[in-house]
Amino acid sequence: MALNAQYEVIGKGFVQQYYAMFDDPAQRPNLINMYNTESSFMTFEGLQIQGAIKIMEKLTSLTFQKINRIITAIDSQPMFDGGVLINVLGRLQADEDPPHAFSQIFVLKPLGNSFFCQHDIFRLGIHDSA
């Protein structure tokens, strides 16, 4: 499959849609439609998860309600299978907690006329390994 020339638009559009759903507790369960039952991987703060159902179990177990987010940068690249690689750098605030930096990587895989999220890696920008 050829490179998708629309990768920038697709990347930005996906990220906006994804976080609009994620950050609203009423809409968060709908994120399940972004992932594939079998072939979606997530690494959430080091925790490896496979498949839409397990991914949603993780996302709906998070204890905050709303999230405020400021996106600093969205960088995208076209992939040779027609997919899109996206890196997001930003800051988030869960409920009334102090804000945290975060980074998130998505790989969108083409499926018919659309995409699903094949890979999703999330980390807070906290350097506490010392």
Binding site: F44, E45, G46, L47, L62, T63, F64, A94, D95, D97, P98, P99, H100, A101, L124, G125, I126, H127, D128, S129, A130
Partner: protein, 208 residues
């Protein structure tokens, strides 16, 4: 300003139990908060005077460590517990889950703290919300006794028992230090006198 002891306490417990409000209340909202976003630590400082059993006066520089909410995303790392000399384990009297998870916090704490039986004060917070209470004092005391903890019912809103909780913890930690034969078993910061430290600012003595 000089001090005799630098003592670090850690506030633990589920999200939303009032850890930050509790620490804020402790100094009537007057103390400086240092939020270090890159390491996910929020710490507050206060100077107190401690009278030892034999009447000596010690100047204590208290550092009260708080998370920045990262426990909502994953468990806290070992480094967070490091060098802490005492623990305020806080749950919400109006939230059953926060009480049930006290056990998990204890387990974490005993795994990562400097020893297996560190000084811990269990605080049932939000005691002012009596009509919303779901955890009875009896149940909380039972749990505290089982694990050998001091139990207090506190309110970060009204200030009830907040200072007392910190004072009891400080007293236990100071007594432990005085009776400890081998001080090298304690986290190294605890027994450092200030004149033994160099004069670098407090921010460099934290989590780096």
């Amino acid at each position: 300003m000089e001090y005799d002891y630098l003592i670090k306490f850690l506030a633990l417990g589920n999200s939303g139990v009032g850890k930050t409000s509790f620490l804020y209340q402790y100094t009537d909202g007057t103390f400086e908060s240092r939020f270090i976003s890159t390491v996910g630590i929020d710490f507050k400082e206060k100077r107190v005077i401690y009278q030892t059993a034999n009447g000596r006066t010690q100047r204590v520089h208290l550092q009260l460590w708080d998370t920045a909410g990262q426990e909502r995303f994953r468990s806290l790392t070992t480094a967070f517990y490091r060098d802490s000399m005492g623990f305020l384990l806080i749950f919400d009297l109006t939230n059953e889950l926060s009480f049930l998870e006290v056990r998990n916090w204890l387990e974490q704490l005993r795994t990562h703290a400097y020893c297996e039986d560190p000084d811990i004060i269990l605080c049932g917070n939000k005691s002012d919300l009596e009509d919303k209470r779901v955890v009875s004092e009896h149940k909380a005391r039972e749990l505290a006794e089982k694990h050998g903890l001091v139990y207090l019912e506190t309110s970060a809103a009204t200030g009830q028992n907040v200072a007392r909780a910190v004072e009891i913890l400080l007293d236990r930690v100071m007594r432990r230090m005085e009776t400890s034969v081998d001080k090298s078993l304690l986290p190294h910061q605890r027994v450092l006198r200030c004149h033994e430290r160099d004069t670098s600012p407090p921010s460099t003595s934290c989590y780096c």
